[in-house]
Structures are given as C-alpha cells and as structure tokens.
Amino acid sequence: MNTALTLAEQILSYKAAKTVLADEIVVVEVDQVMIVDSIAPDVIRIINEDLGGEIKFPEKISIVIDHVSPASNIEVAKAQKQAREFAQKHAIKLFDVGRGICHQLLIEEKRAKPGEIILGSDSHSTTYGAVSAFGTGMGASDIAMAASSGKTWLKVPKTVKVNFLGKKKKNVYAKDIALEMIRQLTADGATYASIEYHGLEDFSLSERMTMANLAVEAGAKVGLIPVSGLLLNDYNVPDWLFVDKDANYFKEIEIDISKIESVVAAPSFVDNVQTVKSIQNKKVDQVFVGSCTNGRLDDLHIVADILKNKKVAEGTRLLVIPASSKVLEEAVADGTFASLLASGAIFATPGCGPCMGRHMGILAPDEVCVSTTNRNFIGRMGSAQSEVFLASPATAAYTALRGFISGGENA
C-alpha cells in the first residue's frame, strides 16, 4: 500500500525519486529559476565570483526586468544593462522592460507547469501554485546556487489544508477571500508550510493566481491549488499528482466563501483584515490597480465595468499598471484601456509599479493609497507616514469613484 501524500510531498517525492514526508530534507533538481532585476546584480556576482561562472541549464532560467521598469536612475540602469549582457552571454531567456511582472510572465509563457519546482528570487513565487507548481521564493545565494547547479535543497513542508465552501456574494472577489484566509491563519499561521487550497474548482486561472500569490503572506513556503475545472483544458497533470484524501495535514480550516464581504488589509500588516463597511470616511489620495496579485485582464475588466461612463473622484488619482504587455494589448483590443482612460485612469509600463515603493506612484507623508497589491507594511509605497490599504480591484474601483474607501456594498 502506498503512503498517502500531500501535493507538496508528491512533488518533492517525485523529484527526489523516493517517498519523502513532511520535515524530511531533500536535494532536488529544479525546473525553473526565476531572477528579477533587483536581485540580478547579487546573483550574477555570486555566479561569477563564487561559482566559477558556471550555468548548468541556461534554458531553465528566466531573468525578468520588472521591479523597476523602466529604470528610474543610473544605478538601476547599470544593473539592468549588466543583466541583459549576462542573459545574452549565457543564452538565458530575458523578459525586458515592459514585458511585465515575473510571476505573470512565467505562467503566461507556460514556464511554470503542474508538478514542477520553480524557484524565484521573489517571495510571491508561491503564485506558481495556481497551476500546481511548487513555487517558492529564495534569496540571492540560494537562487545563484540553483541557477548554477540546477539543484537546491528543500525541507518538505507540512501542509495546512484550507477547504473553501459556498459561492461568492456579489462584490466579493478572490482577493477578499485570500485576505480572509490570511486573517484566519494570521501572518505566521502557515510558516514553513504548504497551503493546499480545496474547493476552488470554479476559480479562473487569474483568481487562482491571486489566491496562491498571497500564501506567503501567511508565512507559507508554497501555496498549491489542485489543477481542476477549466484549467484541465490547458494543462497536463502528471498522473502522480492528485489529491489524496488520506494525506497527512497538520492543520485544517474551513472557510465559507458565502459569508465573506468586501475587505481590506489595513495598515500595516496583511493580516489586519477589516470589512470595507467598518472603515468610514477614509479619504484616499491614490488608487493603484496592478501587481502580480491583481493586474490581470479580468481585474481591469472589473474596474472598467464599475467606472464605465463615470469619472474618478476629484482629488484622487487612479493608477493602472497591467501585469504584462499581453494584458495591456488585450485591454487595448477589447476597449478596456480606452474606457479606463475616459474615466480618468493613468496608465504606466507593465511591471511591478509602485508596489514596493521605488518608482511610479510614491506616496507623500499622510497620503493614503488603496492598492490591489500584496503588502501594506510601513513605508512600503513611499513615506513611512503614508498608509496602504490592500483591496480587491472592485473595492479599488468604488474607492476611486468616491474618493473614500468604499466597496460594492456602498454603491
């Protein structure tokens, strides 16, 4: 009789060519190593100076210029130039300025597939769990060793099983559900663990990416969603990767989606989740729609539908940054781009935008931003005296219309 395994255990057992369980340590080959612009200088230096310039599988590496894109100063421009030259020298796939955000691109380009191990030099690499890939973030040393050797070491995570029940109310979106999950688990409730999401069969790929993206905000190493529903048309699932009901979960929680309302994560922790209704008369200076969490075409559609034939409130800026050039092109082709412009939205180059406070929409002291991103830490998007409320694209749109924090329930 075979041991029942969690999705994380199945993937790591397959890669290790032996059955491994939670808390064991494995050394495995990785399928993809993703390097972002802001970490590339360290990774390149380590590869060249410590690892003899060796790259075993250049075809398994992606370099993405997204965290400051286009370059905002000379320091950044020099680092990006170096990253381009390194990519060219080693025949590594480069996604240059304007192509979009790393996680969006790896999924769009099918460089992350079910059952694979994807290491990213970005903590939101849990996003790849949307397609049942073991995606996890690591720092420059680990990423450089993996890029050079093609391997890494991993502790097999124990698994938190989250069972989602029921249907979303009107005005409630994947972002609200993910934030409610983080409120329940808390910011360290899944530390070192895998979150396995069950009951999301009806969720689109984009919604699954939002859900898996935020797994790290509960401290998780990986956030795995079984491939199901419409995704089965687009992805081949290896036969060894399946939900085994008898697998050993260290924690199990149930979330009734039908009870969830529009929420925000109020400053300055992602698990500080409150209903939009409970926040009264909070004036907002900037609304940002974008990021690896919520910058996709369906997110832009939600915002455009709410703003259709209406204008952004005076005194509030609405900044929209598509997650990739493909999202931008599609939004142009289907009229979403023009509709948002007519409502008063400002657009910027596909990429991470102001998410981590480096460019394209930095906040002044005392300014308030409602953002569809994933972190609201002190000073995250600019001044340490500014405030960031994380929200769904719908809440962002209603807020942009009124100039005060508002959800669909206020409309």
Binding site: I25, D122, S123, G139
Partner: protein
C-alpha cells in the same frame, strides 16, 4: 578597546521592509551605502549608533515578507552579532543562515532582556547573559552550523560542492 555588545530590542512582526526598505536596496542606492538605511523607517538611529557585535532581540515572526537577501546582508555589513527572536519567517531565516549571521530562536529571552542593556553572548554554546539573567538559546540546526562557521553557505558550497543538507540522511 573591547566594546560590550548591547541589545537592540524590536517588537513582533519586524518585516523585511522594516529591516531594509525596498527603496534603499543596493539596486537603487548602490552596493556601498545601502546598509546605512537599515531600519530607516523604524529606528533611524540604528545604523549610525550600533556597534559591531550588538545583539538584535525580537518577538515572533522576525523577517516576514520579501526574499530580499540584501536585508540581512545590510545587517551583516554592519556586523550585527546575532539575531534572537521568538520565531523567524522562512525565507528570511534561510537568508540569515546563508549569509552566516547567527540566528537563534528563544521564546523566553524576549522577556528577560531590555533595550540598550549590555550583554555577553557565548556563540559556541548559544548562551546570552546580562548582569541579571542568563539563558541558553535553541541552537541553529546542526546541518546548518558548518555554513555559519565557514561564514556563508557559499563558502560551504565552494568547500564541499554540495548543499549543507546533503550531509544528513
């Protein structure tokens, strides 16, 4: 002159943006100066007033957030002696060990030592002591100890051409 290390006491949930804000990444401001922005939002006096060997003491979930290795690298460049927390976030803990920064878990230490207090720290036995208290901390997992001793995971990898965990099992 021998400088006695002091405690810098932090709260729960110190995130990577607190340790080093993204806008002050080496990528933005240059490799030579970024460490001067450690805790820029939270404790602006830290980088200029801390002394090599000082001990950071924190509550739970130290280092939540980003995978940015340059956050612990800033602490390494400032020669922080050790970080003692009630718990650590996953990616950050691995980054600390990879960079050879001693990181110890202790639930009790937080209540026993005060900010600014002078302490001595026995790295070998993981014992932290002040005039009033002495506590033994949970050691770093054995398979990671040698990379700490060698100074970084890269030194370990260069020496053995294998990962620390390959010694076990």
């Amino acid at each position: 002159m021998w400088i006695v290390p002091r405690i810098w006491k932090f709260t729960d949930s110190i995130n990577t943006d607190d340790i080093l804000p993204g806008k002050y990444a080496p990528y933005m401001v240059g490799e030579d100066v970024f460490q001067n922005y450690a805790f820029a939002h939270l404790r602006a006096d830290f980088a200029s007033n801390m002394q090599a060997g000082d001990i950071l003491l924190a509550g739970k979930n130290w280092g939540l957030g980003s995978s940015r290795e340059y956050a612990p690298k800033a602490l390494k460049k400032l020669n922080v002696g050790a970080i003692i927390a009630q718990s650590f976030a996953r990616i950050h803990y691995r980054n600390l060990v990879n960079l050879g920064i001693p990181a110890f878990t202790s639930y009790k230490a937080y209540g026993l030592f005060n900010d600014s207090e002078n302490v001595s720290f026995d790295y070998k036995n993981a014992v932290l002591s002040s005039a009033n208290h002495e506590i033994r901390l949970e050691p770093v997992p054995r398979f990671l100890q040698e990379s700490l001793e060698l100074g970084s995971v890269l030194e370990y990898y260069k020496k053995y051409r294998r990962f620390p965990s390959e010694d076990i099992g």
